[in-house]
């Protein structure tokens, strides 16, 4: 695995094969550069995720959630998580970019935000958690999609 922003599809394919052969529901494979987790999902067969390691020392994230999670390109997400302006997910759950379906999103790229402003909502077990801006600034990048599962420590947006 290199730091090129490409997914090692051969490795993912090997792990998926292994998953089928062993009957396991989830396999995680990690090198110093990348972590690949292959897990069975129920929507479209298998949920395949390739995500870089989040914060060193962060609490281990539980198994991936059922909502299909689009895999960010490893290098991009890795860079984003290390970005000094990255706002990361405080918990595992489902992310919403608006207070309710159809409402205007909390933030858009290019928007100015003030400290404490709500950026996203994350739901788990019917508990709703506002993710607030740790500082004021401009939202330069939104990294997480609406209505998708997020892991602990996953970068959600960048404020500069």
């Amino acid at each position: 695995m290199t730091s090129k922003p490409t997914i090692d599809s051969a490795a993912v394919r090997d792990l998926a094969t292994l998953l089928d052969e062993t009957g396991l529901s989830e396999i995680e494979y990690e090198t110093e550069n990348v972590r690949i987790r292959v897990a069975r999902g129920g929507i479209s067969g298998q949920t395949i995720m390739a995500a870089p390691q989040a914060h060193a020392g962060a609490a281990p994230a539980p198994a991936p959630a059922a909502a299909a999670m689009p895999a960010p390109a490893p290098a991009t997400a890795e860079d984003a998580a290390k970005h000094p302006g990255a706002v990361t997910s405080p918990m595992v759950g489902v992310l919403y970019n608006a207070p309710e379906p159809g409402a205007a999103p909390f933030i858009t790229e290019g928007a100015k935000v003030s400290e404490g402003q709500t950026l996203f909502l994350i739901e788990a077990m019917k508990t709703f958690n506002p993710v607030r801006a740790p500082k004021g600034g401009t939202v330069t990048k939104i990294l997480a999609d609406d209505a998708q599962a997020v892991e602990f420590g996953e970068p959600l947006c960048i404020i500069e």
């Binding site: 129920g42 609490a59 959630a65 379906p101 404490g116 019917k126 709703f128």
Partner: protein, 270 residues
């Protein structure tokens, strides 16, 4: 609301009408006791209203609160651990189940994942939990607002997603004040147990009172996808483990859950 007794240290703010008891409790807690951005010391702060003018459910859905039903929001301190805040959904659900069973013995109340309360398959109560981590509050200071609505007297005319009912329709009379007194007591007891023993006893009690474990279930996820299969288990964090017909499993953290083969009537009337 009259004749309410709360556990030691809890405080009651009883209102006649408010937009939403959760919203009012959030305003009170974010204002802090003395204007400081802190929720410390606010555990047990409880807001009730005889009626809510803008009661809410999941994802902005309206929740009707006619007079005679219970609308109550209780603040619980959770320190800095947001991840465990979801466990409170089950602590509250188990406590409400115990309280209603004590006040209306002989009725088979069941919990629907994660914490709606059903009577004969119809929704009798709903909850909405929201975390409060005030900006500028010291690290490790956070709270959860546990909002509970129980249809004691009247069947709300606003709940398009699931069939609803009220306790009075089944011949039992319980006042909001009587329920709040017992619910606050069972909630305080389960909170204490959760803090000293962890999620395990809460999970066990929830499973005892749960509806549909082992049976057919459909989960409608936030992105609109629906998964159908068997409600296989409640995992260690409270997620619903759904086994799909192809033998795989899904871990559901959030969504609308429907029981019965064919998934009940998802979308029906919604």
């Amino acid at each position: 609301m009259s004749n309410v007794t709360l556990p030691p240290g809890w405080r009651l703010v009883a209102l006649d009408a408010i937009d939403s008891t959760n919203a009012e409790l959030r305003r009170l807690s974010e204002a802090g006791g003395g204007g400081s951005p802190s929720v410390a010391g606010l555990e047990g702060l409880t807001v009730t209203a005889a009626t809510q003018t803008a009661g809410r459910g999941r994802r902005g859905r309206a929740w009707a609160s006619p007079r005679g039903n219970l609308s109550a929001s209780i603040l619980v301190e959770v320190g800095g651990a947001r991840g465990s805040a979801g466990e409170l959904s089950f602590v509250a659900g188990v406590a409400l189940h115990e309280a209603l069973t004590a006040l209306a013995p002989g009725y088979d109340f069941r919990l629907k994942w994660p914490n709606d309360l059903l009577l004969r398959g119809r929704k009798l109560a709903g909850m909405l939990l929201e975390t409060v981590f005030p900006a500028g509050a010291p690290a490790g200071q956070g709270a959860v607002i546990v909002g509970t609505g129980v249809n004691l007297a009247a069947v709300p005319d606003l709940e398009p997603l699931y069939p609803v009912t009220a306790l009075a329709a089944h011949g039992a009379t319980v006042t909001p004040g009587a329920l709040l007194t017992v619910y606050a007591e069972t909630f305080a007891a389960w909170l204490s147990r959760w803090r000293s023993e962890g999620f395990s006893p809460v999970r066990a009690a929830w499973l005892q009172a749960a509806h549909g474990v082992g049976g057919p279930v459909t989960a409608r996820l936030a992105d609109g996808n629906e998964i159908s299969g068997t409600f296989e288990a409640l995992d260690e964090a409270g997620a619903l483990i759904l086994r799909t017909p192809d033998g795989g499993t899904c871990r559901v953290l959030a969504g609308d859950v429907f029981f019965g083969s064919g998934g009940g009537t998802p979308g029906g009337g919604a």
